[in-house]
């Protein structure tokens, strides 16, 4: 088949909302875009284990401790499904991880902020997982089959995380004055970085148009951000917290909240590696890999010995 014919087939599948599968022909750039997006997403799950892992040993009740550990475990699982989806595109996990460790691959910049108090476990679940859901629910209908299917599983768990985080915030907000202050402080620190999770404004987003045409993305960054604000603000108000934005108010005419300007300098700085925890996060991931090298080598050596023994027996 000619390249043109293949291209036409591919496009007609997209038009008919038929999923593209690993064995199907696809344009190189489509493949590359997916590898970039899925690996970034997988890395975000894995790096995202660190800021929350930071509070596992200090969770204030057994119920909270177990729930937090289970949540971080879910994120590890998300990383696994996503790396598997990425591998169906021909990109090995080890290479993607090397790119993360060398700084070539990106991950969600939100995880470069520190978790300073227990309330951050609430704020992250509520806001960060909440924003992740907003981004990810449409991805359950993304055009690449393995990615869409991975996202269905991920989204179920993310909405559970979001509720769990909100519940932590609610408990703090109705607690002692110190607890309430802790919750408010966490909201103040995590609100703006959460809005940045949707990426640069549409006018500056270099990937959005092509990704929409390929039906990888279904909504623009600004649409998703607006939907998140509209959904989240009433939740915060309901538990008596205030948002750190003096321009935030309901716009009757538009049927949406207006909100203030996002500090994009900060966003680009964190992406460039200048966030408060960028270096620590990557250092922790590298250390895990380096400290575990002898363990992985041993497992490989042992598996090989076993295999040799069984082929000897068979011979």
């Amino acid at each position: 088949m000619s390249e043109e014919q293949l291209q036409r087939d591919f496009q007609s599948k997209l038009d008919a909302e038929i999923r593209i599968e690993p064995k199907d022909w696809m344009p190189d750039d489509y493949r590359k875009t997916l590898i970039r997006q899925i690996s970034q997403h997988a890395h975000s799950e894995i790096v995202g284990m660190l800021p929350e892992g930071n509070w596992i040993t200090r969770a204030p009740s057994l119920r909270r401790k177990v729930a937090l550990i289970a949540k971080v475990q879910d994120e590890a699982g998300h990383g696994l499904y996503l790396y598997s989806a990425m591998e169906t595109l021909g990109e090995p996990r080890s290479k993607a991880i090397d790119d993360l460790h060398s700084g070539k691959a990106k991950y969600s910049s939100i995880f470069n902020y520190p978790t300073l108090t227990w309330a951050d476990m609430g704020a992250i679940g509520w806001l960060v997982d909440g924003a992740a859901i907003q981004n990810q629910v449409p991805l359950c209908r993304t055009s690449y089959g393995p990615y869409a299917r991975a996202m269905v599983r991920v989204c179920k768990e993310e909405s559970f995380h979001q509720r769990q985080g909100y519940e932590i915030m609610m408990e703090l907000a109705k607690g002692t004055p110190a607890q309430k202050a802790m919750a408010q402080d966490a909201l103040n620190r995590w609100w703006w970085p959460s809005l940045m999770m949707f990426g640069p404004p549409d006018k500056d987003s270099k990937h959005t148009a092509q990704s929409m045409a390929w039906k990888i993305k279904r909504h623009t960054n600004d649409e998703l951000r607006q939907a998140f604000v509209d959904k989240t603000v009433p939740q915060g108000e309901f538990i008596g917290l205030t948002f750190p934005d003096k321009d935030l108010k309901w716009n009757e005419e538009k049927g949406h909240y207006d909100f203030g300007d996002i500090n994009w300098d900060e966003f680009y700085n964190v992406i460039k590696g200048n966030g408060p925890c960028n270096k620590e996060r990557i250092k922790a991931r590298r250390a895990a890999k380096e400290n575990g090298a002898w363990v992985r080598d041993a497992a490989a050596a042992y598996a090989k010995k076993k295999q040799n023994k069984s082929t000897e027996k068979a011979a």
């Binding site: 200090r58 009740s61 909270r64 590890a76 110190a178 575990g292 002898w294 080598d297 041993a298 042992y302």
Partner: protein, 250 residues
């Protein structure tokens, strides 16, 4: 009698909590992603077992106590966990050695505890046993892989086994409370597990091409609240929030 049972239940709960807490420290730092998930699973099992036991303790105690009271409001000297549970994680081989010795004990212990005259303990044992079988398989397989893997892993694993050996004696001896609870048909004599424990350990170490350590001096004290210096730090970290906010619920 109630007091004895309470103490007996609590110290088992403490072992599960402290070991589960230690294992949760691996979260995000394991040697590979699949192992991270396995370690977290096991940590969650230990913590789940501790919660069942603390909840039972609260029922026995009858003073409107909760599981969190036992975990967060007691001091170093009140904790009755085995010393082995509180040892720091070290490298992966140290963690595996610690789990392995403990898992062999748990497996044998819960296998007997399912016959306890105390129906609640028997039910907890039954549920735990399913989990512990998996823990044992996981830790034993890693002892074998690391022992019979590379030269480096063999050396590291042997060193880990040798280092931790001194904490295994406590798993196999009884104090007055063990003897009393066994007399009542409620508890299990650790000493009765000794032969089976050695046989299982020896079989795995042999397959792993590792040597059974020769040292015969064993540390004790966990059950009577005489701990290593490590436990104080673990509790300080774990308990700080509820202690800082005594009025709060979470």
């Amino acid at each position: 009698m109630t007091n004895d049972l309470l103490k007996y239940v609590l110290r088992r709960a403490d072992s599960e909590l402290v070991l589960g807490h230690r294992m949760s420290e691996w979260c995000g730092h394991g040697p590979e992603l699949e192992e991270d998930i396995a370690l977290i699973n096991i940590s969650l099992d230990h913590l789940g077992q501790s919660r069942s036991l603390y909840q039972y303790a609260a029922a026995v105690d009858g003073e409107a106590k909760t599981e969190d009271h036992y975990a967060f409001q007691r001091n170093e000297r009140d904790f009755g966990n085995f010393l082995i549970c509180e040892l720091p994680n070290g490298h992966y081989g140290n963690t595996i050695a610690r789990s392995f010795f403990y898992d062999v004990h748990s497996l044998l212990f819960y296998e007997r505890l399912v016959h306890s005259a105390d129906k609640t303990l028997a039910a907890i044992a039954e549920k735990s046993l399913k989990e512990v079988k998996y823990h044992f398989r996981h830790s034993a397989e890693w002892v074998i892989r690391l022992g019979d893997g590379t030269e480096e892993s063999h050396a590291k694993m042997q060193e880990a086994i040798d280092e931790i050996w001194t904490y295994t004696g406590e798993l196999l001896t009884d104090d007055e409370l063990d003897i009393e609870m066994n007399k009542q048909g409620i508890g299990v004599l650790n000493s009765s597990l000794k032969d089976a424990w050695y046989n299982k350990v020896e079989a795995v170490l042999n397959e792993a091409t590792l040597k059974i350590p020769e040292g015969a001096y064993f540390q004790t004290g966990g059950k009577s609240g005489i701990h290593t210096e490590h436990l104080g730090y673990l509790l300080a970290e774990m308990q700080y929030l509820p202690r800082q906010h005594p009025e709060a619920t979470w």
